[in-house]
Symmetry: C2
Subunit: 195 residues, 2 copies
């Protein structure tokens, strides 16, 4: 849509913005119900919009994912900010649980997050950066106090979170995944006696 809006200084068209919103909420519904590989044509239909319109707004499936779940990424960021009071390890574990909870409801999120970590599209690379920065903050705080080992980067930690969460679709998914990541964090902590 407004690829030249900036160039000509015109106001963005109202119908364009409206359709964008319709598409986003349709996508949210469709991906929730049908999983992340639901058909894009179904999304367009649900939004009451032509398939061409969908593609103009979101040139790739991933672009749509990322737009849909950007909000969630922001929630993760602001949640981390509210964790400032806790001791680092507890903060990280709490954040990790929040992450899992987020994934638990929004099944499409992983499909958005994983590629977002590599994305070079500026808009979304930005969201990914905020996530990375957030994770980095939690890690650094712990490192300063000598709680976490230092041979792991924020990005790597995020990738592990994402990877372990991929294991979906089993009874007791949430408990299992939480336990697994708790074990991982155990491994990340330096013990008082030097490890």
């Amino acid at each position: 849509m407004g690829q030249d809006t900036a160039r000509t200084g015109r106001k963005p068209r109202a119908d364009g913005l409206r359709n964008r919103e319709k598409l986003l909420s349709a996508a949210r519904e469709v991906f929730s119900a049908g999983g992340p590989e639901a058909s894009l044509e179904a999304v367009a239909k649900r939004a009451g919009v032509g398939i061409g319109t969908l593609y103009r707004h979101f040139p790739t499936r991933e672009a749509l994912f990322q737009a849909v779940y950007m909000r969630e990424a922001d929630q993760m960021v602001s949640m981390a900010e509210s964790l400032g009071g806790l001791p680092p390890e507890e903060a990280l574990r709490t954040w990790m649980r929040g992450f899992i909870g987020m994934v638990a409801t929004k099944k499409g999120m992983l499909s958005a997050l994983a590629p977002a970590l590599d994305s070079d599209c500026p808009t979304f690379a930005d969201a990914a950066d905020r996530m990375r920065a957030t994770a980095g903050l939690l890690l650094d705080r712990g490192r300063e106090e000598g709680v976490f080992r230092s041979d792991i980067s924020p990005e790597e930690m995020l990738r592990v979170f994402v990877g372990v969460c991929y294991t979906r679709d089993i009874e007791g998914w949430r408990d299992t995944v939480t336990r697994m990541l708790d074990i991982f964090i155990d491994g990340m902590t330096c013990l008082p006696d030097g490890r």
Copy 2:
């Protein structure tokens, strides 16, 4: 193919067996080159066989994956057996490295392994069982000696291995993944002082 071979006691047809082999090696090549979502029609073509023949031998994409990578699963099993001499923790870490090495070359393997863990098709559930049993063996040995904690099942550990490996396609993938899983195993070990 031989759905009634057993019933009528006829020898299985030679061309059937031949085509099965041709399909398997074609699949191996095509999946190596084009990734796990390469087209099945390409596989059939490469094997010099009709698409119908492919589907008769392997009714689903997963069935084909699993058949292709069954061999690799067996290698993992027999590798574990050769690790009997090592102390449990070292054995597990070595096996884990072997696992990563396997995934590093056969990119399609993950797509086979993950669903195989849930599969109810008897033939392949069997391969998955052997993997589970193997992992269980490594774990149990360690538990007896009080090296590993006991709140993790073989299956869960495998799922973590698989999940973390999903993080592909980055510079230094192999080192990163190895480091991450080493950290996970650190978390799995009980420290002498009680944790």
